[in-house]
Every structure is written in C-alpha cells, then in structure tokens.
Amino acid sequence: MNSQTKATNLQGGALQKNTNVSKPVSMASKKKWKDAGLFTLFVGPVLLAFTIIVLIPFFTGIYYAFTDWNGVTGNINWVGFDNFKYLFTEDKQFQASFLLTAKYTVVAIILTNVIGFALAILVTQMLKTRNILRTVFFMPNLIGGLLLGFIWQFIFVKGFASIGQITGIPLFEMAWLGDAKTAFWGIVIVSVWQGAGYIMIIYIAALQNVPQEIVEAARIDGANRWQILRHITIPMVAPAVTICLFLTTASSFKIFDANLSLTNGGPFKSTEMLALNIYTEAFVNNRYGIGEAKALIFFIVVAAITVIQVMYTKKKEVES
C-alpha cells in the first residue's frame, strides 16, 4: 500500500517537471518497484533466517562479553573489560585450554596432511585395490566426531587392553584415557584417522592434474621416483597443500565433538580444548558473560586464521 502511494507521488513529481516523458518515467518507476518486490521475494526469506540465527546473536554476543550475564536471571550488568581481565590473569583453565588447543592444532595439521598426502600418493599408483582402498581410507570421515569419539573410547579402554594382554607390548597396556599425555594423543589419533581420508581426496584430485607428459619427460631424462616427487609433483600440487593446510587448521582449532565423547576434557580437565571450555563455562557453570568473552577471543583467532588464508591464496593465484 505504502509503496504504491510513494510510486504515484514519484510519478506526480515527474509529471510536473516534464509532461512529455511522463509515460516512460512512470513505467520505469513501476518496473523499479516490481524489481524491488522480486528482489525481496528471492533474497528475503534466507536473509531473514540468517539475520535471526547468525547476525543478531553475533552482535548481541559481543555485547554480552562485556556483561555479567548468568543466563538464568534477566539481570545483566555492564562490567567493561572485567571478563577479559579475569581470563588473562586468573582463569588458568582457559589459558591451559588455549595453549593445548594451539599445540593440538599444530600436531593435527602436520600429521593429517602428511598421512593424507602419503595415502593419496599410495592410491594413485597402479594398484589393483586402489579404488577399494580409497573407500576404506575415506570411510571414517563420513561418521561424525561424536560417534568416532565413542568408537575410540572402546578401542582405548577395551581394545588396547586386550591387544596388550595378547602381545605384551607396554604401549597397549597403558590406560590411554587415564593419563593427560596419552589422552591428548588419543584425540590426535582419532582426528587424524578421521581427517586423513578427506585430505587424501583433495590431494588425489591435485595429483591427477599433474600433466603426465612432464613426469614422462623427467623419467626419460633419468630422474628417479624421489626426484620426480620432490621437483615435479610437490610443486605442482602446492595450491592443494595450501587449501588442505588451512582446512585442517580451522577444523582442528574448532574441535569439539570428539573431545567431548572421547575424554570429555578428562582426566581432570587436562584435555579440555577451547570449544569445550567455552561450552562448559556457559552451559555447565552458567557464566554466560565470561563464556561469551571466551567465545569472542575464539572468534578473533579463527577469523585471523581465515583472513590470512584468503589473503595468502589470493596472492598465490595472482602469482601463478
């Protein structure tokens, strides 16, 4: 209703100025409103959902990070930077979780990529079983982190104990999830087992794009397998390496599901990564304000990693 009146007003204005072009102007403005209506019809629904689900929580979240909100009462007071001061000076668990997550991320990136790349090389050889092997290596990736964590909980608790009993190898006789160090490596094993197959798929695609003529030419010139890998294959798949490095960085830093189901942060919170720490602060301790301050720091780190990634890949694209 309103828009129509507005449109007629506009037409009226145009009429007064120049009677000769009144017809095309009125048609053009009608079309303009029709276009705006169509635009709203096509973009509106998802934009509305996106605003409610992502934008509003994101911006109100920044506000809550500076309050003492406890999630239960409606009483929310502004506390300035107190939450952040607390995190950096008093909250030892948060600092430990942050460092642990950083350490875990580095270890997981290296292992996932090295193993994923090695698997990709392996299954692009002339093997009879290569298709079934691709499926096997990829399969853990289908299953969500939560179920994988439970699967491995059984392996570490019962499976390892049984293998230890049979073989007598001390490595299997330890209580892996009962000790901070081995529990950490337990999480690493689960995430590498899950992630390597995914990374492998991307490396396979990159390896298949390496022109066979170049490899053939190098071979005729007398290059051995290792030289071909080092001087032809690896430089040719470098863009895929970048993609995979950043994919694993982001996903490792955000680990939650497997952390929850495999160790639940234990023993004694020694394997509590950042995402789980935020979750516990908010939904177990009911300290939403502090939890949100942590979440804001978490966002800044993830955003920084992603921005560096985008800048780096863009630069690479320009170069090549």
């Binding site: 998802v46 994101f58 002339m126 009879k128 079983t129 289908l142 049984s162 979750y279 993830v302």
Partner: protein, 275 residues
C-alpha cells in the same frame, strides 16, 4: 615402463592393503564385540564372537527408540536441505542478476559470516532463538540450519550461476515468462550439478551435527541420532554390549548413504573444498 605391474608394485600393494586393514581395525572391534554377550566382551575382546547373536541390537533398538530418533534425523536433514536449496538458490540467482551495490553488500555479508565459528555465537543464539520461539522444535532447528548453512550454500550457488549465460533467460522473458517462472523452469534445472554437491555436503554436516541440536532440543521425543547416542552412552556407561550396538545403529544410515552416492560424494568434496 613404469606403468606395468611389477614386483615392486606388488610389494607396495601388500603394504597398502595392510594399511587399509589397520584403518579398519576400529570397525572390526566395534562390530565383532557388538555381537557378543557382555561377559564375552570383557574376557575376549579381540576374538571373533563365539556365536553371532543379535540380542544387543534388539535391546539397543528399543532402548534408543531408534525408529523415532532415526525419523527425527531424517526429517531434520531432508527439510533443512529443501529450505537451503530453495531459498539459497533463489537468493544467489537474484544477487548475481541484480547488478547493484546492495546485492554485493548482502553477498559479502553472507560470505564474511562463514568465518564465524558456531561456538562463538551459540550462547546468545539460545536467547535469540527463545525470543523467536524456535527452541524445542524440529522446525526451529530447520530454520537454524537454514541460517547457518546459508553462507556456504549461497557462496557455491553464486559462483555457479555467474557462469550461466543470460541469453536463455532473456529469450524466455520476451516469450512472456515471469522472473519466477524463468528461475524455476530454466535456471534451476541448470544448477543440478552444484545442487548435488550442496546437498551432499549439507547432509553429512546436518546428520552428524551434535552441538546445535543438543542446545535446541530438550524434549527427549525430538532427539536426533547423535543426540540419542550421546545420552545412551551417558546412561549405559560401561555397558558395552548395548553401547556398541547403538553405535553401529548410528553408523548404518551413513554407510548406506555413502555407498549409494559414493561417486557424487567424492566429487562433491573435491569441488566443495577447492572453492
């Protein structure tokens, strides 16, 4: 010369197969033990079951309320995929075809929001969702997946639609077809390859997602497969006979999905990651 199957290749093949078996060991343990009675799991964890018995599955099936949680997961995944595909393809199409500043601003907002990790907005999300009445409802959850999935889905559609020539649509408009009709009759069918990729990526994400439904769905009747498995594990700690069978019941739908769409999944992951 190198492309022939030599003795060396055979050795590589054997090593590769051994590595493949190593990858499967966890599955062996879970499957074989899920078929044993409890006492046998404790005493003979590594051996094959003496007798294959499916009692654990019958029990877990009932205690999990499996049919209910399976259909909850299915409804959430299918409905979320439908709204994501319908609304995001429409939005992406309009954003590509409307050459205005506002289109660019909206598109960049969707893309930029992709870097926001879920954990950094989950706390205020629960409050906002409560205000809009989206909590404790399957449909509220579906709207949330529309919100969270919109960034990547619009991004993938946007890139694809940019490569479609405008001439076809213009011809149809001259023939009297409306914009709405043009999109659904002419453009949308052309989007099929990217739609397949999008549906696969979103399905795996939504089916496996635990954290969002755990915050949104409090009513046990509404639980999805990962949620039900989580509570089941909490309730039957150390009751491995039931827990393992429950795990396998949670994995089976994924395996069926994978083996029926294997080729598309591999292609989808490759193209989804590179963009």
């Amino acid at each position: 010369m190198e492309n022939k199957y030599t003795g060396k290749t055979f050795i590589v093949e054997i090593l590769a197969v051994l590595l493949g078996l190593l990858f499967l060991v966890p599955f062996y343990y879970v499957i074989s033990n899920s078929l044993k009675p409890f006492a046998e799991i404790l005493t003979n964890t590594s051996a094959l079951p003496k007798v294959f018995q499916f009692e654990n599955y019958v029990n877990a099936f009932e205690k999990l309320n499996y049919l209910k949680v399976f259909s909850n997961s299915l409804i959430v995944t299918v409905a979320s995929n439908v709204v994501l595909v319908v609304f995001c393809s429409m939005a992406a199409y309009m954003l590509v075809r409307t050459k205005k500043k506002i289109s660019n601003i909206i598109f960049m907002t969707f893309v930029a929001a992709m870097i926001i990790p879920f954990q950094s907005i989950m706390i205020p999300l629960i409050k906002t969702a409560g205000t809009f009445g989206l909590l404790n409802s399957i449909w509220g959850l579906v709207i949330m997946y529309l919100g969270f999935g919109s960034g990547m889905t619009i991004f993938l559609y946007h890139g694809f639609i940019k490569g479609i020539p405008k001439e076809l649509e213009e011809a149809a408009i001259i023939d009297g077809c409306s914009r709405f009709g043009v999109f659904w009759r002419i453009v949308f069918p052309l989007l099929r390859p990217i739609t397949v990729t999008i549906v696969i990526l979103n399905s795996l994400w939504i089916w496996n997602d635990f954290l969002l439904p755990s915050l949104v769905l409090q009513n046990p009747e509404l639980r999805t497969v990962p949620l039900a498995t989580f509570f089941f594990f909490g309730q039957y700690t150390k009751q491995w006979d039931l827990a393992l069978a429950a795990l396998i019941l949670g994995i089976i739908p994924l395996l069926i999905f994978f083996f029926s769409m294997q080729r598309h999944i591999i292609k989808g992951i490759t193209s989804g990651s590179i963009k």
